[in-house]
Symmetry: C2
Subunit: 368 residues, 2 copies
Amino acid sequence: MNKVAVVGYGNTKFSNEDKPIESLLVSATKSLFDQTKNIDKNDIDAVLVSTNDNAKYLSAILSELTGISPKISHTVENLCSSGTNSIVSAYSYLVAGLADIALVVGADRYDCHGQILEWDSARGEFKHPIFWASMFTKAHKREFGTTEEDLAVVSAKNHTNAKLNPHAYSDKTYSIDDVLQSKFVTDDLHLLDCSRPCSGASSVLLASENVAKKFEQPVWIKGIGQKTTSASLTKNESLTTMTSTKIAARQAFDMAKIQVNDVDVAELHDAFTICEIMALEDLGFAKKGEGVSYVRELYGTQDKKINPRGGLIGAGHPLGATGVAQVAEITQQLQNKAEKRQVKNVNVGLVHNMSAAATSSNVLLFQS
Amino acid sequence: MNKVAVVGYGNTKFSNEDKPIESLLVSATKSLFDQTKNIDKNDIDAVLVSTNDNAKYLSAILSELTGISPKISHTVENLCSSGTNSIVSAYSYLVAGLADIALVVGADRYDCHGQILEWDSARGEFKHPIFWASMFTKAHKREFGTTEEDLAVVSAKNHTNAKLNPHAYSDKTYSIDDVLQSKFVTDDLHLLDCSRPCSGASSVLLASENVAKKFEQPVWIKGIGQKTTSASLTKNESLTTMTSTKIAARQAFDMAKIQVNDVDVAELHDAFTICEIMALEDLGFAKKGEGVSYVRELYGTQDKKINPRGGLIGAGHPLGATGVAQVAEITQQLQNKAEKRQVKNVNVGLVHNMSAAATSSNVLLFQS
């Protein structure tokens, strides 16, 4: 079986700028070219675009704008997890021998169309993701006594981490009190409990084993887990468990023959504060009900192990870019190139990316 | 290396009905379930949707509506070739060992957003595909003396074939004169030289070698070729050659170790009549400039070898469904299940699917 490595990455700053989707895609590609030694555009066999934008044929357009003539090109969309879906697609082309080098570029605009769950008429007017996040929060409070302050710790921690990420949307730090004093958006969630849609793009370059060696410090994809349980909330085992995340994690750990205790650094999908706590539990970093104390310890010790780039809450959440940015961050971390955000002595990294109330999840494991 | 087979297919009728995209997707999936023996929904590892529709998260929605809980699910978009891009993605998951059974469902509505080449401002107001087809036609006329009547033969032939396809949009036959007397849309192209956007969906089921044997008459994917040359017309070697098709064909034939003379039945992307003539030449069925006489011979002998289901011109062209419908047809043909459309003694089939003036092309080879 071919092995596959991440051998390059690029980012734009995440912002509220009104830039065309094509410009965002080109900027993240240029950032990757600028940072990746020994790259030859003629060797790129696949260009995949991850986005929720309504524009069509973006992979061919990006290819033309950046001087690439790939074999394979298309757009991948799966709401908030489009990025890791694209990366798994690219991985598959490489393992299947259809490509040796694949470029994946994720981008979305602040006004992108994946932010509202339009299809789910059963939700009535409650189509914004914050409503499922509120349900998760209420359930977690009821079952485990989780408090508003516990949730605020996640936001304070991730904004603190984002302050050291030059591409993050947020450049402010917030105390726990600041989070608690931000306005309520629902009964349970403050504004600072939420990630922000924004404009941004990220890119990664994947290479198969035989060509990965010409690049510096390849980071290997060791485990892949994916699960779709439903498109609504009907099939979660409970409102305090993200079933698709649990199943995807088990697959990824089995494939990689790695345990959760081996993970040194992780990017979790904190679309809302409750999501980081639940993800820590469902991925196995903490037992059920103990996600809160896990996060409080990280915050107390200023440990950047979880969401070193600031998570979606601190870095911003341009939907199609997020999964790609997560993989770019883990690559940087495992290459010891994450500068002020660098977590020490890292060898194994994890990415958790999900969509729409965790009705689908992807978990990826990386090793340097 | 895992082998991959097509082991099932489904279709809706292509029509001008105003059906929701979700209904189209579900109908083609149900059609596949109804026709495929020994299928167990629990065994489906991947659900890919091929579409140009702006709705998001359609693979998860289709999965929920049809009772599937796959690992992998997302939408693939690449304009008119979204279908074969999706099938190659599914093929890769199977070869890579991430999935054993994959469902690919393509659908679009008559008013879908992939029909106009919105991005290409260099075209001025000439953003409808008919304008590049007119340029191709003018160039072919100039270089090879191709006539309006030659083009009309393609349309007459494909409408005749479509009459035997119960899912085709068109149920009329047209003589060469009928085509010539249909109204001019541009200087060079009559209405009946053009394929029609419509509402429709098609599906195929792919299985890896170890599970394909539990299905009846697996049809093996033997060759895959893909090429993106550009997103505009800037990189074709000439206006009478579809460079991406030529390159993709060479890859596919090399991978399959099959010659063009071995191909018994083929689905070509006749978005306009000129495209079938050029595709015959660029795929190697005919020498350059001899596509016309090749088509005239087929029409004269009522040979259904090329576009037995009626092509895009006769069957209709719901963008995301087209590539999937082409593969479904070749599967039926190689299983000897194509009823009145059946081409005799078929063993090797070819699918040619392309986008936007052949700025990208996919060529697939199948063997029973």
